[in-house]
Amino acid sequence: MAPLSSYFAFPEWLNMLTAFLIGIGFGFALEQAGFSSSRKLAGMFYGYDTTVIKVFFTAAIVALIGSQFLSYFGLLNLNQVYVNEFYVTASIVGGVIMGAGFIMGGFCPGTGLCAMSIGKIDAMAFVAGGFAGAFLFTETYPLIEGMANARYKGPVKINESLGLSPGLFTLILVAAAVAMFWIAELAEKKFARPEITNDLK
């Protein structure tokens, strides 16, 4: 029966209300995780704080397993859940540009908004830059249109391209995540920087 918005044909106002409420949950979870702190986020890339990978992979796995079970019991029609379209060139080039933005800015677009909301002035600069970046993108889109749409593959699923069932791929991903969590815990000890992490508590 789910997604509920299509099953019950939500009117516009209800879609907007649910979007706002889901956003509140999103911002609350990000802030509680400590993602309102750029030095905590950056710790992921210097090893002194690996909260990012723990939160990120735990969240992806919870949503993945949850949606697989709901689909198995016929409660969620996964064919009606949006699957990202794969533009090979744009995904890689865009990803690398985002990697640079992450290290220079110390936030991603979601965590930047969340940090701004609790008064981080550096996050306000990041969000202002984000608006400038969105403007720059829309203005330069005609110039990069060819690259942006190159090598389009459609909404491909990773398990299908590997020839695995969704359940088996999920199991492999969970095992990989547990291994990464273990490495992350070791890294925090090896690359510990108490002079930074004590500031962040």
Binding site: S38, A59, A63, I92, G129, L136
Partner: protein, 169 residues
């Protein structure tokens, strides 16, 4: 009283439940960079309507009387700001400050933060999603694009981290 952050695995479960809720209720994942775009498109639409009409890219956001401000992602990012504020308020973390390494100046931090914002949202638009819309939500629906974008972001960030290490450590 300032309270400590939530255990990362517990926070991950909470975030995962929010993402699952979005999938079950709205049939989609979370997002952020798209919300920036809808805000900008709607500002440009208000300030310079002829520019929007003549641009193939802008005009599609106003087709059939659509308004970019009443969009799922726009409302969701307004919610992110409200939710972050609520969390900061209950945990005693509301404070105006520039967070930075003591080794760099405030100006340097703010310039880099601004440039990082420009690049992140630009790259996010190109890849059709950022860390939330492509990487996190994409992985939850087993999207190949999500996994590739996630590896491109985190993989390249380790290279850039070495280049810009003086800003952080």
């Amino acid at each position: 009283m300032k309270r400590s952050y939530m255990n990362p695995y517990l926070a991950g479960i909470l975030l995962g439940i929010v993402l699952l809720t979005a999938m079950v209720v709205s049939g989609r994942g979370l997002g952020a960079s798209g919300g920036y775009k809808y805000c900008v498109v709607s500002i440009v639409g208000a300030v310079d309507p002829p520019h929007v009409e003549n641009s193939e890219y802008y005009s599609k956001y106003f087709e059939n009387g659509k308004k970019p401000l009443t969009n799922w992602l726009t409302l969701e990012i307004f919610g992110v700001v409200a939710g972050g504020f609520i969390s900061g308020a209950v945990s005693g973390r509301l404070k105006l400050k520039v967070e930075k390494s003591p080794k760099i100046s405030v100006t340097r931090r703010l310039i880099f933060a601004f440039l990082g914002g420009v690049l992140f949202v630009y790259g996010g638009q190109l890849a059709r999603g950022c860390t939330s819309g492509a990487a996190l939500s994409g992985m939850a629906v087993l999207s190949l694009a999500g996994f590739v974008t996630m590896i491109a972001i985190f993989g390249s960030a380790y290279v850039f981290a070495w280049i810009f290490r003086k800003n952080w450590i």
